[in-house]
């Protein structure tokens, strides 16, 4: 029916649309090709690579044996453990601190708010090497921190910050918190701007104190942003590389990453497998895939916990 009654103008219209489609496909093809070549291909190729065992140029197919090897690899398991310790302890502390500081600095009655905000954000733009060097100096056995703690009689003996497996982790956590709290704070601050003042006013009239306001207004209203920062921080921590590398003794020249490999993370292990040890790119790809899987799982859990149904 339709075919017989079709007007020439309709036909032209259709041709016009299909021509438009052609252009559409043409333009969209560039990003698609680029994505395929630079994203899809490496992802698939590294999946294949993870089934190989290699010694430099010499490669052989081992199937899933790399994954079995991974479970027996105490160094990898330690890297996994270290990464999770950083993730479980450092990320919540940092995000909580960021939230507190953000809501404090959102108070309009505070003078020089801009100055404080800038001051707290500044570490995020500091060069990594510079700050790692300064922290190492401050946290050395006879460094500033120990001298201060000794002077106020909080400790009787200097703390072996970077020489003890336990304290080395603490030092790196302190450093990471210093560096990234301000960065997360900025997200919260921008989120706080979008919470209408009326809500707080109403709460105040109803007799809610600041703590309850924070608990029942600020946190729920900021939930999407908290989720976002939690996921980016999770990814950042699981891929943690810079800090352990610069805080461990000689970086690439030292035998272990931190005393007893206490600062070894999965990303550092991948680096070592590729460049410091006998280059085993296949095995390194296996470790990389484990990180991807873990990030995916954690992100799903966080979405579920946040109850975001979208």
């Amino acid at each position: 029916m339709e075919n017989t009654t079709r007007l020439p103008s309709q036909d032209r219209e259709k041709r016009h649309i299909s021509a438009k489609n052609k252009y559409g496909w043409f333009f969209i093809s560039f990003p698609v090709i680029i994505l395929a070549v630079f994203m899809l291909y490496p992802i698939i190729s590294s999946l294949f690579l993870s089934t190989m065992s290699s010694r430099g140029m010499i490669q052989k197919f081992v199937g899933l044996r790399n994954y079995v090897k991974l479970l027996k690899d105490t160094v990898f398991l330690q890297a996994l453990k270290n990464t999770f310790i950083f993730f479980i302890i450092q990320v919540p502390i940092m995000l909580f601190l960021a939230l507190i500081i953000a809501s404090l600095l959102n108070d309009k009655s505070i003078k020089f708010r801009g100055l404080f905000r800038t001051g707290i954000f500044l570490p995020a733009v500091t060069s990594l090497v510079t700050y790692a060097l300064l922290f190492k100096m401050m946290f050395s056995l006879d460094g500033l921190i120990n001298k201060f703690l000794l002077a106020i009689h909080l400790i009787s003996e200097p703390i072996p910050w970077l020489m003890d497996p336990f304290w080395a982790k603490i030092t790196v956590m302190i450093a990471m918190t210093w560096r990234w709290t301000g960065y997360n704070m900025i997200f919260y601050l921008s989120g706080l701007q979008n919470i209408p003042d009326e809500l707080y006013e109403a709460a105040e009239i109803d007799g809610a104190n600041k703590l309850r306001q924070f608990r029942f207004i600020t946190v729920p209203m900021l939930k999407p942003i908290i989720l976002f920062t939690a996921i980016t921080s999770t990814i950042g921590t699981l891929q943690l590389f810079d800090e352990p590398m610069s805080f461990s003794s000689g970086g690439v020249t030292a035998a272990t990453i931190g005393p007893g490999n206490s600062l070894l993370t999965m990303s550092v292990y991948i680096y070592n497998l590729c460049f410091k040890y006998m280059p085993n790119f296949g095995y390194a790809a296996t470790v990389a895939y484990v990180i991807v899987i873990l990030v995916a799982i954690l992100a799903i859990i966080q979405f579920k916990l946040a109850g975001d149904k979208r």
């Binding site: 430099g56 020489m163 690439v252 030292a254 005393p259 007893g260 590729c274």
Partner: protein, 448 residues
Amino acid sequence: MSVKCEIGNYAVHSGDKLKKEETVVKRLFSMLLVVCVLFSIFGVTVMAGGKSGKITIWAWDPNFNVPVMAEAKARYQKINPSVEIEIVEMAKADVEQKLNTVLASGMKEGLPDIVLIEDYNAQKYLQAYPGAFADLTKKINHKEFASYKNELMTLKRKIYGVPFDSGVSALFYRRDILAEAGYEPADLNNITWDQFIEIGKQVKKKTGKAMIAFDAADGGLMRIMMQSAGEWYFDKNDNPNIVNNEVIKEGYIAYKKIVDSGIIKKTSGWNEWVASFNKGETASVITGCWIIGSIKAEKSQSGKWAAAPTPRLNLKSSVNYSNLGGSSWYVIEKSKNRAVAEDFLKTIFAADQDFYQKILVEQGAVGTYLPSQDGVAYTKPDQFFGGQKIFSDFSTWMRKIPPVNYGLFTYEADAALMAVMPDYLAGKIDVETALKKAEEQLKNQIDF
């Protein structure tokens, strides 16, 4: 090559630009000129030949390897002005990263002609990338180099590199501090680690100073101990040999003794370690001779230092001579100017004795080219070390370093052993358990 060849080459180059009529006269004239210039500069020495082309060199350390190469470049270009040499300076980790990625990708582009490789890594590269490096067995007279250097770059009876600097180890100590504790230089000659610890205790008691700075994450001392006994982490077939290795066990125990004796100052990282002896907080340093530059950096301590042979283990096989670190030059097989690169290394690094004197004085680089070590710079007393002829001593010790094949997995083994070290030092596990753990981990990791 003869002078004739040099002139012929020159004529070909300049001949293109000249008109035919003038060619004969000008060519004769330029020939004469070149002959005169060459003879006046070099006397009647035989020329190396008119090489040309461009070679690229990758090296790390702007205070050591790079200026050494720059000196070599200047010397070679005097002989072969038409050879272009580019020295690319990168961090050591970057050199290794680039080399690994380019070689693994199988690309022919993007590689240098000559590359510096750390001795501990030599076998790894040679075996992981077969055919990537040029066989120099017949190009270089390796007999003129320290034998331990040749061993580590030999694969299937072929020698692949040109040995460069030595990491001959020594016990560097402060004469004044040791004298205060009642020790003469003779008391520190050819001692064992146990004796070293005893001396350290006295030093600590009488002067209050720590004997050495110690980094628990550093496996360097272990490597010194092992090589002093001609042993390594692996047996001859590259299989891990840790649990049943008397030398490693002895070394491991020595680590704990050193820590428990209270003679150390704990440090973390290179800077703190160097600072400990620059500030005069520690009385000695046991490491490779390349540390001299850092020791001498503290000018106020001039005349107060001395060097003695490295302490040995309580084993018959262990001697007072060992090594830590050091690297060598390798030529890439597929390099377009391989012949020039080989000739460059041969002319400077395997022949030029004067060059080795120069880099010893300027960079403190102790080469492993034995004929150069009778030279002026090597036999000169060093005022910083109280007039001791330290380089002459190094040269003597270097010849006695037991040769060791470092195998493929030095850094894996190093990490495996040092990872269990804190638990052992804290007394949580005994030495047998620690070594067993380390060997299991190593075996799993290097499983192909």
